[in-house]
Symmetry: C2
Subunit: 474 residues, 2 copies
């Protein structure tokens, strides 16, 4: 083990040294790194925020993780838990001198219990890996964030990840039954139950979901699985105007129909995709698209669901409505949607991409209001996302983090958050507050609610050791 | 308004008088009662625990409720929120001198938002009334406790009610999106979001679900609805032995199949039903029954689901397997199940009826263990419940609350709780801890978790005004 870097504060250096001495006795040397490269690489996430850890601990066992958390607590050294670092709000980025706890090697799928329809996992398991393993047993883990192929379940749980299938299946929280965690005291506790029903005391298992690593460090979670739906079908509807697409979407909701996914893309999103790759299914005259997917017990049922959804689309002047049932054809329709995020990087290498949510019935009103807000701004945002559950990703692209357009856009973003909240929505649907949104917290939450949340934080972590600087305004 | 009863403590009497004086200025006289009858009637619940309130406040408006809670907090007088009083663990029963806050007149369905698939309700709305009103819009509120026709949504939310349809649809918590509440400070706050996705700060909206009125008083909740399933079918399978019924049930889970309800009844349950009413569908030689119900997009689909479930039942030596699709025929099969609870009262007028849960795959193992536990006891329990989600109601009947058999049964119940927890289950699936189970809390929860829960309680209610004496051991 290398010694950590020098510190301005002698008192902090003394605590750090004491932590380090005890850590050496508890954790294998291979689990600890203080190289300059690791201290930087593990202090960065998908938000492109950069911190600098004093030391990176990558436990190979739950015991090593428990020791590290307990010693951080004992010596009151900030500890930043981290999975794959794909978070988009800086939730894993160290804001002060401290320890990064990289949980990616705690990556066992401990059990898939086909008799109880549950999986027990460590935090470092990749979301998509669980879903694929469950599928081998005819089971399904519905939460599917865009990052499913690289983000970890620990991160998904701590940010309450959402994604594509929330319209029908809900979010990560709806699949968490139990957790095993460690507190900064070093105490390990389990909470929740392997049974579906449990109302013994307060619901700490769910309170931890979305808590962004600020209350406890998760070592294991037991997740609910459901049977795989046997049949899936997909519709791509293209429209001349985004208002038509969004009106069709809202009519699908109020039928009521229940697709498993409903994704919207605006004109700027489609323009990016067209420049990025040649997709014949994306007609040149389309200015908006709706991708709707249904699942069900049989292909007949899915065809019937899609027929109703297409009828709704046809009442809103679509340019075309196309369906697909086999996997390759469905994937071709999804290519339009899946290309948006990479395609947007043609407009710049740095993005401000928000994840507001509104009630499903308010997407059209939100987009109208957004257009008013950005009216004077020359580069209108790429707008896309899971509008079936009321989530829209509003994305502005820039040339680097010093782009002179950024201050103006930050003002627009704040107005946009106010709009979403005025429509009874939220400033974060699924990315969390982390570092980048903490200054906006008061737009959505009242002083009373913020006070309660700070009291909850103190109940778990009175010394403020776990992921300090996150969620709450500085 | 009558004055409240005299008190032993002069200091308490002084606080009570000050509360009363201020209450008179804030609340209509018709909303307050201190008659001996009301003080008794509203201090009782489905557990047959009896307390005695000093005063019963029945607000006609949210403002009256807010004033009452704020004044209780100001004068540090225990306040016991209450709905229909159908709870089974004494959650609504006053344990100390204080105020009962009867919320049954806050019973507006504020909105059914068909564009957003949500309902906003006050706490006094009857659960089944919401479901019936939603059905008129083609919508469905899945949580369905046995008390659905008389219990209130406020109580359902505060106890995280479960019921018959949790196998497929989950529990009350899974349908709560947002809440408006009042703290003992008199401060009103809203938490959660009308959007499906929301990860702005800690999940207080869900933490309040199952908190048994100990953290805040709910004034309004926004609940998620889903489309009504178009077709429903029911199977009643009778068996010679409970082990066959439970083995069949576990095989249905691990197929995997997803009925919306799966209910078990043991020999003692069926014997009670036979003595209670003449049901030709309940064959005399049956010693166990399984009622399984599926829903789906079409009758064909439901028939196909039921065919698979019946195949599983047939592999476990049933005496008979019967299906029903139309409403009257389905109701006839449900009569067997619905009669268990009233029929049990033939065995006595007082019951100890628990609601343990275990992982779905452990019901058979639990029932085997239970038989060992009660081996020496002459009156074996009536065992029934939602075994599809792992919930079993173990019910002992007595002649009054002074029946000499009760102390022995309390010991058996404690052993039974230990068994459920050893199988990774819970000592309360859906009734809550309240008053009657608080002494058992430590069987399931570790000292660390209890300490965290007490700290959460202090974060919301530092003076211990809200529903004191509940959840935590005295």
């Amino acid at each position: 083990m290398e010694q950590p870097a020098n510190h301005a504060s002698a008192e902090f250096a003394e605590r750090m040294r004491a932590f380090y001495d005890e850590l050496k006795a508890a954790v294998s040397p291979e689990s600890v790194s203080a190289t300059a490269a690791d201290r930087l690489v593990y202090s960065f996430d998908g938000s492109k925020q950069q911190g600098q850890a004093e030391v990176v601990v990558t436990p190979v066992s739950q015991d090593e993780a428990i020791s590290t958390v307990g010693l951080a607590g004992k010596h009151r050294i900030p500890l930043y838990p981290r999975g794959a670092g794909s978070g988009l709000t800086g939730g894993a980025v160290p804001t002060e001198r401290g320890i990064v706890l990289n949980l990616t090697r705690l990556n066992r799928i401990v059990e898939i219990d086909t008799g109880n329809l549950t999986a027990t996992v460590e935090p470092g398991v990749i979301c998509g890996d669980l879903d694929r393993k469950a599928a081998k047993h005819g089971l399904f883990y519905p939460p599917s964030p865009g990052s499913a192929d690289y983000s970890t379940l620990g991160g998904n749980i701590m940010e309450n990840a959402g994604g594509m299938r929330a319209y029908k299946y809900g979010v990560t929280r709806d699949y968490v039954l139990a957790q095993k965690c460690v507190l900064p005291t070093g105490e390990v506790f389990t909470t929740g139950s392997h049974a579906v029903k449990n109302v013994t005391g307060y619901d700490i298992a769910r309170l931890l979901v979305g808590s962004e690593g600020t209350l406890a460090v998760m070592l294991e979670a037991t997740l609910r699985l459901i049977p795989q739906p046997p049949a899936i079908g997909t519709v791509l509807a293209l429209f001349g105007a985004d208002e038509d697409a969004l009106a069709a979407a809202q009519d699908i909701v109020s039928q009521p129909l229940m697709p498993r996914a409903m994704e919207f893309m605006n004109d700027a999103a489609l323009a990016c995709v067209r420049n990025y790759r040649d997709l014949p299914q994306l007609k040149p005259e389309a200015n908006a698209a709706l991708l709707v997917e249904a699942d069900g017990p049989s292909l007949d049922d899915v065809r019937e669901q899609l027929a109703k959804m297409m009828d709704v689309c046809r009442a809103h002047s679509p340019l075309s409505v196309e369906t697909a049932f086999d996997e390759a054809e469905r994937a071709a329709l999804w290519d339009v949607r899946d290309s948006v995020s990479p395609a947007a990087y043609q407009l710049g290498d740095y993005k401000i991409s928000e994840d507001i949510s509104v009630p499903r019935s308010k997407c059209l009103e939100f987009v109208r209001g957004l257009k008013e807000i950005v009216k004077g701004y020359p580069d209108p945002p790429v707008v896309y996302g899971h509008n079936g559950d009321g989530t829209l990703h509003v994305t502005f692209m820039f040339d680097g983090q010093d782009d002179p357009r950024i201050p103006a856009v930050e003002k627009l973003v704040e107005e946009m958050f106010r709009l979403a909240v005025s429509l009874k929505g939220s400033l974060s649907a699924e990315h969390g507050i982390g570092l980048t949104k903490r200054k906006y917290l008061g737009i959505e939450l009242s002083p009373v609610e913020i006070r309660l949340m700070k009291a909850l934080k103190r109940a778990f972590d009175p010394d403020g050791v776990l992921n300090p600087g996150k969620i709450f305004p500085a």
